[in-house]
Every structure is written in C-alpha cells, then in structure tokens.
C-alpha cells in the first residue's frame, strides 16, 4: 500500500473525520501522514497468516447488567454544558433539506 498521501486524499479523510481544515493544514498533513503511513507499513514484514486479531486485552465479552430502571442524570443537568438549548432540547442548525451532513 503506497504511503502517498496527497492533498485530495487528505480532503477525503478530513471529510470522513468531519474536520474542516485550511488548505495550509491540509498540505502539511499530507506530508506528515505520508511519513507516518510509510513508517507503519513496517507491519507488512510480519507474517500474520492464521493469527487472530486482539481488539482487547481481556477476554470479557457481552458484559451485562439486569435491565432494571434506576436513577439517571437529571434532565436540566444533562443540558448544563449545552452550547445552545431551547424547550429542554439541545438546539442545533436545521438538519433537514441540507446537503450531505
């Protein structure tokens, strides 16, 4: 896999990451990311045929609790850090009939 990160690839990834970056930053990220991807390509040296993935160091899966109702966060408290609120909701610009969100 090529470690060729050009400005267009940076723009694509920045969109996936929902990061609005200036052209200058995009360009500097292209060179940084190229170098890092070049470095991590080192992993291609390792034979991982038949090796399972370790996503997590502990084997625990499906840790559950009983589905019982209990106290939770107070409604007003939950809004405490809201940048904008109204009628007990977090208020944001319109979601519908926009371009790709």
């Amino acid at each position: 896999m090529a470690g060729e990160f050009d400005d267009n690839l940076v723009r694509h990834v920045a969109h996936l990451a929902r990061l609005k970056l200036s052209d200058e930053v995009i360009h500097s990220f292209a060179s940084h990311l190229s170098r890092v991807v070049d470095y991590v390509n080192l992993l291609n040296e390792v034979d991982t045929e038949g090796v399972p993935e370790t996503a997590h160091p502990l084997a625990a899966v499906g840790v559950m609790r009983d589905d019982t109702v209990g106290p939770s966060v107070d409604h007003d408290e939950a809004l405490r850090n809201a940048p904008d609120r109204g009628d007990g909701f977090f208020r944001v610009p319109k979601v519908l009939d926009q371009g790709d969100a």
Partner: protein, 489 residues
Amino acid sequence: MTIPDTMSEIANAVRSGVCAAEQIATDALSRIHRAQPAMNAFISTHDDEALADARRIDKARDQGERLGPLCGVPVAVKDNICTKVGVTTCGSRMLSGFESLYDAFAVQRLRQAGAVIVGKTNLDEFGMGSSCEHSASGPTRNPWDTQRVPGGSSGGSAAAVAARLVPGALGSDTGGSVRQPASFCGVVGLKPSYGRVSRSGLVAYGSSLEQVGPLTTTVADSALMLSVIAGHDTNDSTCADRVVPDDLGALHGQLAGVRIGVCEAHFAEGLDAGVAQVVRAALDTLAASGAMLVPVSLPHMKYATACYYLIATAEASGNLARFDGVRYGRRSEDAKDIGDLYSRSRGEFLGLEVQRRLMLGTYALSSGYYDAYYAKALKVRTLVKRDFDAAFAEVDVIASPVAPTTAFARGEKIDNPLSMYLGDVYTIAANLAGLCAVSIPAGFDDAGLPVGLQLQAAPFQESALLNVAHGFQLITDFHRKQPPKVEAV
C-alpha cells in the same frame, strides 16, 4: 510543624492528630500557586473545596470517626479525568469551561479514602502526546530543568509530584503517558494492568489500551494509591471483575531469587548512552541483591510502535467523534448547517496533534484500508502479547529503559511528530498486551537529569511487580532526590 513527605506518612500524621489536614491543604495550595508561573503544572485548582474537605476531615478526626487510608493527603488529578468540582478541559479548547456531571470512579475512590483533591493538572491534549507541549493551557516545564519538557501526556502530574507540590497524583497511560513523564521527572509512575482500575470518568482516547495510574515519590505510596482506586465498577464494562489482593499495600521488597528478564534488543542503537549506563547499573544493583537476570527475547517488539499508532488513533477517531459542538464543548459560530457545525467546531477547537491522530485513525479504518492497517495491527498485537506470555513463563518481571532519552528540550521535537512517536518504543507494548508496568527513579545522567527503570509484569501481577520495585527502593535512594525549588520565573 513539618509536613511529612509521603502519602502514607501524611495520612498517619492526620489520623493521629499530629498534623491538621487543613494545614496540609493550605501548605500544598500555597506551594502550588508559588510554583505555577514558572512551571505551569496545573490547569485549575480547587482551593475552596480542598480547604472545606480538609476541615471536614479534621472535624471527623476530632469526633473520633474512622478515617480512610489517604485521610488529609493532597492529591492532584490529570485534567482528562472528570471531577464534579471545577472544570475538566483535557487540555483542549474544545472543552474549555466544561463541567463534568460526575466524578470519575478513581476520583470517587480517592475522596472516599479521605484524599483532598487540590486541582487538575496539565496534559497533552486528550492524552495525545509525549511532552506536555500540546496543551491549550501552554506547556508544563520540567522542575529539574525548566527549559526541558516533563514528558507526557501526564506531564503536569509528574512535574507536580517531582516538585513536591503534592505527594501523589493521578495520570493516565495509553502508550506510556504515566511512565515516561515519571522517568523524565524522577518519580514513580505505575500503569496498572488493563481492567485493574475503572476507566469510568477517564475521557477516552484509546479504550483498549489505557488505564488511570498513580504518580508518587515512592513505590509504597504507589501501591497504597492503587489499592484505593483499583477494583470492579459496573460503569466500566471493560473493568475486570477480579478481587484486589488485600496485601497490595503491604510490600516486602524481597529480591532474592526474583527472575528479571532483560531483552538485549532493548539496548540497541537509538538508546542514549547515558540512559543505557544508568539502566545497566540498576540491573547490576538488583543482581547484587540476589535477583537473577535472565535473557528474554521479544521478537515483535520492533513492530509495537507502528501497531500502537494504528490502533490508538483508530480508537481515538471513534472516541472523539462525540466532540461535535452539539451537546457540550465549544461550538463554531460560523456554521451554516448541521454538517458544517460538526466540521467547523472540530476544525476550530481541536488542536493540530489531535487532528493529525484523528486523520490517521480515520484513514486506518476507512473502506479499502481497514484490512491493511487496522486489522493487520490487531493481528500483530496478538503476536506482541504472545511474546510476553512466553517470556513471563520464564521470568517474574521484565526490566528495560523507560524512554530512549532523558527529558528533551522544549520545542525540540514539536515539529517532528514521528520522531516524538518513536520515543514511545519501550512503554507501548505493555498497553498493547494489557500488562502492568512501572517506572521508578534509577539514577541521573551526566547532565543531572533523571533516568527511569521500567519493570513490567504479567496482567494482574501488580504485587510481584511492586515488590521488585520496592526492593530496589530499599537499597537505593534515587527516589529521595528532589529538583531545586521552582519559584519565580
């Protein structure tokens, strides 16, 4: 009246009435404020609340109530760990002014034990960094040499403990962020086994890698703090439901017959000669006390850094998606629509290094690249873990340097992120494999800068790990050395 140096001594003094908690808290806050302009170890302090907590403890003592194991002990908390008091900023403009609705589990445990939280310490933004230079609150300076970095990301906590502003602090370690600053600042830094301490309230960066860990001046205090914060928590489903040994705080320090694994590949090119010298001398000291040095091989260690920077950044891209300007954090004022709101808020208020890592992680997980990068890294992670499983069948602990250098100069690596990442070479594997690992002061280089020795043990073997570390502190006094007082700029 002299306030004792260590956490356990302070707690004993408060419990017996020799020292008042209020006096101790007042003294700590005074030292913190005096050192703050020159060192910038703290982002915020909780003066009123700390004094009120301390007075409550004094009153409880006067009324003959039972006091906890950390009663009256001032403790600092890294600012990516949530506290109900004050703000939790993660060193980021994105969370400036953010008020957490709850205390992190580790903070709750400290408070239940009677500790007095005095403030929140500086860090690399969201835990992403190894120098404490990537913070919206400015860099922290190393008390041993204020032109140098304290290490990161828990640089503020390490500096505060090194300068004796507080006897103990909480940090977090995702790839070495407790151990490396401990080494750079000449203090003890412990990364507990994965799942040993609840991550509830630790703002997530690399969820499968990180742990909250203590920074202290002695291993005995580290064990004491761990015994307070460790344990099961139903609010963290990755927390191990495993009993915390009763004797965790009772260390014997016996070294005779302990098998210490040493990997010669650790001493290859890239390791500073001064660091190598101190670490080898420390190994000789351990051997002279009856420990056996046993060669071990960790063949996949050279891939650990690449592996980490794919996994950690991939996890970060998921974990930091919540910072979108909607429910909390800063919101861009220029947004035209909802998509714009997300992108502009994140673009404006997340720092450059955080953005770099989110970009790498997003790329590693993206369609067409997932198998080659993220999935591949998860397989290499299995091989790294297997290396350690094999090694720990032969030895009790593995010893190594903590970092390839001592504390470097502020600004030296900031324009070369990859070179900064490569400094994590010794610490990173423990996070991939979920091991417990500690950095302890092992000496000083020719420039008088601290050098740490890292010990690693198999998951949940903290008792074995800390006994060796404590044993080293019984026969050396590097951990008692203090930097010169950091005061006026």
